[in-house]
Amino acid sequence: MTGTDWPLWEVFVRSRRGLSHTHAGSLHAPDAHMALRNARDLFTRRSEGVSLWVVPAGEITASSPDEKDPFFEPAGDKPYRHPTFYEVPEGVQNL
């Protein structure tokens, strides 16, 4: 058995408490535990993280990359969801 048979894992690193995990890259490993250890050696050699996630790459479902995709369109015509949509009379404070 060689490297190609090993699944691909996506690695997410939390750089410090209070921040979310961020995608750092990917690696191959035969199982989740070895993926975690490899991720530690590969992505946190300089204490870049306090927590790691490894996710089987095949388990991630992604949306279409095309920004003009109708998938995101419903939000496109709803500017009233932003505060800047509204007119506030001159001089009104704290609004």
């Binding site: 989740a32 070895m34 490894v54």
Partner: protein
């Protein structure tokens, strides 16, 4: 965003098919995809793995990233050669960390190549069989301890000059890998400079050793930027695609300008009698590069080509048992009843069955 760069890319990227999928709008034409791609590149946006891209763009990136990855991996050898003979524990620890970094850089880069649909095992095969190249610089031998310093200062210095603009490369995963690599690389350069400085201020013999190393590594370092612009076949296209941001000669000049004052501070000389300040250009003029030597090394006739490849193949073969053991261990773990592994024992039993869950419980 993670969700946009992730794994479905693996299957789709390789197929070369457009982004047609369930629920997608009517297929765009090739021209429309090309127009979107051109617009994104023109606007300095990043191309991400699942975006449509021209086949030649994909092929160029795979070739370049693979060659870059191979260079990192082969680049471990000349310096690893000195680990056992490092003159102090401090120098030894530094050198080991550096060589380990090079392995890490190779892995970041192989990972980036895979986002384009390349297969890692295949890339390694191509390296081992000589079908893909690595940087010619690593085909020179490391004859003395001072070579470790010269490599850090000059070879890593040249690599940084090359790689900093790659942090803004149009292909997202490559650019992000380069950000990480450049951050780590700056220690490599400094440790080399410090090492040479120590030798330069040492005994006459140490000083001579440092000068000899610089004499031997200077010209090959200048060759690292590749052939002169007029002879560089892919440069113009790569620059149009914003994979490359500066021409070979531009980067080479930048490197020379950086090195001249650094050499002076080291108290060492660069082996080029034609090196002179050109006030008109605002740059250092330098002598002609021996491109014949460069071509010979590319052809495989450098002093260490055969040795580097042979050692790489041997390391890969000798490591087979580790890969087999890891696979066997994973298979054994899968067949066992659920039980927390030793390194996660602070977590609730069973939490390790799924990685994200284990990770989350570890966050608290």
């Amino acid at each position: 965003m993670a969700s946009a760069t992730s794994p479905p890319r693996e299957r789709e990227a390789g197929s070369g098919a457009g982004p047609a999928r369930a629920g997608a709008p009517p297929e765009k034409s090739e021209q429309e995809f090309q127009a979107d791609f051109d617009a994104a590149v023109a606007a300095d946006e990043r191309i991400e793995p699942r975006d449509w891209m021209p086949d030649a763009y994909r092929a160029t990136l795979v070739r370049q990233i693979a060659q870059h990855a191979h260079s990192e991996i082969i680049g471990m050898q000349p310096e690893a050669n000195w680990i056992t003979r490092a003159p102090s524990l401090r120098r030894k620890a530094i050198l080991m960390a550096k060589v380990q970094d090079e392995a890490g850089h190779g892995l970041y880069l192989y990972g980036a190549a895979e986002t384009l649909g390349a297969d890692r095992e295949e890339l390694l095969d191509k390296l081992h069989s000589g079908r893909q190249k690595y940087s010619s610089i690593f085909n020179y031998p490391t004859l003395t301890w001072a070579d470790v310093g010269a490599i850090g200062w000059l070879v890593d210095g040249a690599a940084i000059t090359n790689q900093v603009p790659l942090c803004r490369c149009s292909y997202g995963p490559y650019a992000r890998a380069m950000v990480r690599v450049c951050k780590e690389e700056s220690f490599h350069q400094r440790q080399g400079y410090e090492l040479l400085l120590a030798l330069s201020r040492g005994t006459p013999a140490q000083r001579a050793m440092a000068q000899d190393a610089v004499d031997r590594w200077w010209w090959p370092s200048l060759m690292m930027f590749g052939p002169p612009d007029e002879a560089s076949s892919h440069s113009a296209r790569s620059m149009a695609w914003k994979i490359k941001r500066h021409s070979n000669d531009e980067l080479r000049q930048r490197f020379v300008d950086i090195c001249v004052p650094q050499a002076e501070s080291l108290g060492l000389t660069l082996p080029d009698p034609e090196l002179t300040w050109n006030a008109e250009r605002g740059h250092w003029d330098f002598g002609p590069i021996d491109w014949q030597e460069f071509q010979e090394i590319l052809k495989g006739n450098g002093p260490c080509n055969a040795q580097r490849l042979e050692q790489r193949r041997r390391a890969h073969d000798d490591g087979a048992w580790v890969r087999e053991a890891a696979a066997a261990h994973a298979a054994k773990q899968r067949s066992r009843p659920v039980e927390p592994p030793a390194h996660q024992e602070r977590q609730p039993a069973g939490a390790h069955t799924a990685a994200p869950r284990a990770a989350r419980s570890g966050d608290r």
